[in-house]
Symmetry: C2
Subunit: 469 residues, 2 copies
């Protein structure tokens, strides 16, 4: 039974991936065109199609399930670009086995779109949150002088920490989506032209892009309060390379050779730190895996790997984040021409890298000491203050119109409270003078008390003249 295909309930045909078994021999994964519904809209014989029922999100989209019972499709329905099946049952292998991997490409393209969608969701959330944070006031500037008024919440450093993190990640996803889409396009082009070398990159690319699905499901929910996890991937950077890399060593804070964590040398150092972290974790994973294998001879590869799965997850995340950050920095150098725009985006890059290093501190224990971490926190706090004046322009730069955001809080003109009130007035409960459902309540409340209360409680005179009751 297949669960989850979006919109399958109202599809007439499906591209079904299934094993091709010929005279008992399993020839592996092939594509078949299968007709789901007949000309009356009923299911084809042997096919059951349904819809999976209530979902938390996407209520407007039908999500399907299907079950096939002994369905026979004609030979013609086999996808046969690379391999063939003759009418007398002979299987003709693809000219190049490598090129048959082409069928993964559409899945990979969808996975890249998750990065792009993550940018989109996160950028929208950041736009709404940053705009609203310029309007929303909370907390007196001075508790001893309430008459000086309240702060807009965007001026609070903690608010900045969360918002600007989301903002910098949104930009990072933007650059990476662009970078990876171009890269994948080149591979696809190469494979269509029969370039076997291009197709060699497919398995690793496939594995890397799988990470995006998890990552994107998480980031789709991104908002200023939730944003903490950072994952991703880079095409074709083998982790094996780490095992021969050299450890990074860093001068102490205060020594002349220490470049600091900001500016051109600082940004280079940040990428090196992320690379060194990926290297360290890969080396440790290698060690943990070997130990797990040797501890119980006869353990399978899968069993040994499962004994150090947390290490493996951390190594994979570190690898992916290094690649993400490196792509981001390269993209700024390659694509951004205006120096003042470049400066604003470099600050976002520095903030994002420093936040991740600070939040994943244990991974850097071998190279960074307490004074480094103290300086990192100080640099973060400086960056927040520096990014503050650009924050609204940076979200305006995403270019969303009010009708894209569907948000009273994120209105471009900032007239938030008027908009919320106008929206609330549309609620069906607010359409009548009298409370909706009062006839039910009237049976149980003390109406006499309410009537008496009405004689005592009035309106219409100003509070100052009424202060003495």
């Amino acid at each position: 039974m297949k669960w989850w295909p979006t919109a399958m309930y109202c599809c007439t045909h499906a591209a079904v991936m299934a094993n091709l078994i010929l005279d008992g021999e399993n020839l592996g994964f092939h594509g078949f065109m299968v007709q789901l519904r007949d000309e009356n809209g009923s299911c084809m014989p042997g096919i059951e199609i349904g819809e999976i029922g209530p979902k938390i999100n996407a209520e407007s989209t039908n999500i399907g399930f299907s079950r096939f019972t002994h369905v026979r499709v004609p030979r013609f329905n086999l996808f046969a670009r690379a391999q063939q099946l003759t009418p007398d049952g002979k299987y003709i292998k693809p000219a190049s086995k490598a090129l048959s991997k082409f069928k993964y490409i559409s899945m990979m393209q969808i996975r890249v779109e998750f990065v792009s969608a993550s940018y989109d969701f996160l950028a929208k959330a950041a736009t709404i949150a940053i705009r609203y944070s310029c309007v929303r006031k909370q907390g007196y500037k001075r508790n001893d002088r309430p008459e000086e008024g309240e702060n807009v919440v965007l001026d609070y450093q903690m608010q900045q920490y969360r918002l600007f993190k989301a903002l910098s990640l949104a930009y990072m996803f933007y650059w990476n989506a662009r970078y990876i889409r171009d890269y994948l396009g080149r591979i696809q082009q190469g494979m269509m032209e029969g370039d076997e070398k291009a197709s060699e990159e497919v398995p690793e690319l496939h594995a890397t892009l799988c990470g995006f699905k998890v990552f994107a499901a998480v980031t789709a929910q991104a908002n200023m309060e939730e944003l903490r996890r950072v994952r991703g991937g880079k095409p074709a950077t083998g982790m094996a390379a780490y095992l021969v890399g050299k450890p990074l060593t860093l001068p102490k804070v205060g020594e002349a050779a220490f470049p600091g964590f900001r500016g051109p040398t600082g940004r280079k150092l940040l990428v090196e730190l992320l690379q060194d972290r990926a290297r360290r974790l890969a080396v440790k994973l290698e060690g943990a895996f070997t130990a797990a294998e040797q501890l119980q001879p006869g353990r399978t590869f899968e069993e040994a790997l499962n004994c150090c799965a947390v290490s493996a997850w951390r190594a994979a995340e570190a690898h992916a984040f290094y690649a993400f950050a490196a792509n981001n920095l390269s993209s700024l150098q390659a694509y951004v021409k205006d120096p003042s725009v470049g400066k604003a985006l470099e600050r976002l890059f520095e903030l994002m890298a420093l936040q991740v290093i600070s939040e994943k501190g244990a991974d850097f224990a071998g190279v960074l000491g307490e004074p480094h971490f103290d300086l990192i926190l100080k640099s973060i706090e400086e960056l927040l203050a520096e990014i503050r004046p650009d924050a609204v322009a940076l979200v305006d730069g995403f270019g969303y119109l009010d009708r894209h955001l569907h948000s009273t809080l994120g209105l471009y003109d900032g007239n938030v409270y008027e908009a919320i009130y106008e929206e609330a007035k549309k609620s069906p409960l607010n359409q009548s003078e009298t409370m909706l459902g009062w006839e039910q309540l009237a049976k149980i409340v003390d109406l006499g008390m309410l009537r008496d209360g009405r004689k005592e409680q009035h309106a219409g005179v100003s509070v100052s003249s009424a202060s003495r009751l």
Copy 2:
């Protein structure tokens, strides 16, 4: 305008907290009973009550807004347990200023309930996720021998890392809710009996419990994939005490004096590490605050604090988590009598503390080195394997019935897939033989092609005999 009070739309009266201004003098925050609706269910004069409209959650509860325009309430409606207003306009101060803080208590009780609710939501999510993880299979045990079958996902270490973290936090919240509720009850009792000393603890308790609101709003969403943030609070443990505390020093891994991170001495060490982290961050916050004050003379307290708000947030979180963990360990010693139950819960405690230390590594850079962090990760991986056999019993121990969980995935009997399919069949889209809305689709699809396809595609013979087409 007041926004957000739950269910206010159908309330007849409200307890309104407002300043009492007498002859131009602001006497501060007082409580007033205000009638919202008259005996016909209409708003009282000068009062506007409405409902705020669509919400993502809690659609079934009305959430209100209100606006008062020159509303006059009779003197009798002033809450007057502690202070009085005479008919001729004289204000009689409360006998004890401290005891007037009593009005915060109901708000604090609600905040404690957030801890309890967080336990409840998280425990339910953990129950569903752990039960389903015993049923759900994914991934071959050996990729080279698919016939050996697939793993249940609970056997994956990464799955354990997330699930058991949620599980251990759920238990931690359980113990803390119990502990804090008792504590608050004792203070309230003391204040009702006129004990001024009890009331002195109210302001700090109030501040600490404020953290729960943020924390609980986050944890209500808790599930196995999201659970990363840990906050909370402990009644009446002043952070100022940290400023005179001594730094913790730890023997190196491998030295005889190093107790390890597990067992009775290990658990004691974990609490000490969390306490030392809270101390370090408090000391650093003190330093950062002083520096911020001195950098620009004339800065207000609020401005200086905002320059180190990230430091302050981290210090507050560290303080709260230390208190949470300490309460947890004490509770196990105080309440759990069965030694084997105690062992199972101690493992959860160790896991939770080690996960937090590992994930907040930068905060421990002054006391833990890379070998410590390596050992911590190793201990986590050991604990996951040890907790695995108890996992189902530990969630069964929460005692939820199927009707509490409303979840096909979390069914006690584990017949998950049958239940999902049965539920899906109830969808309105699945009630007719023909696709709902086919008449619309029929106008645009090629019915002839579907008719032809029906002649070629069949069902009813087994796949093996049909493999040659």
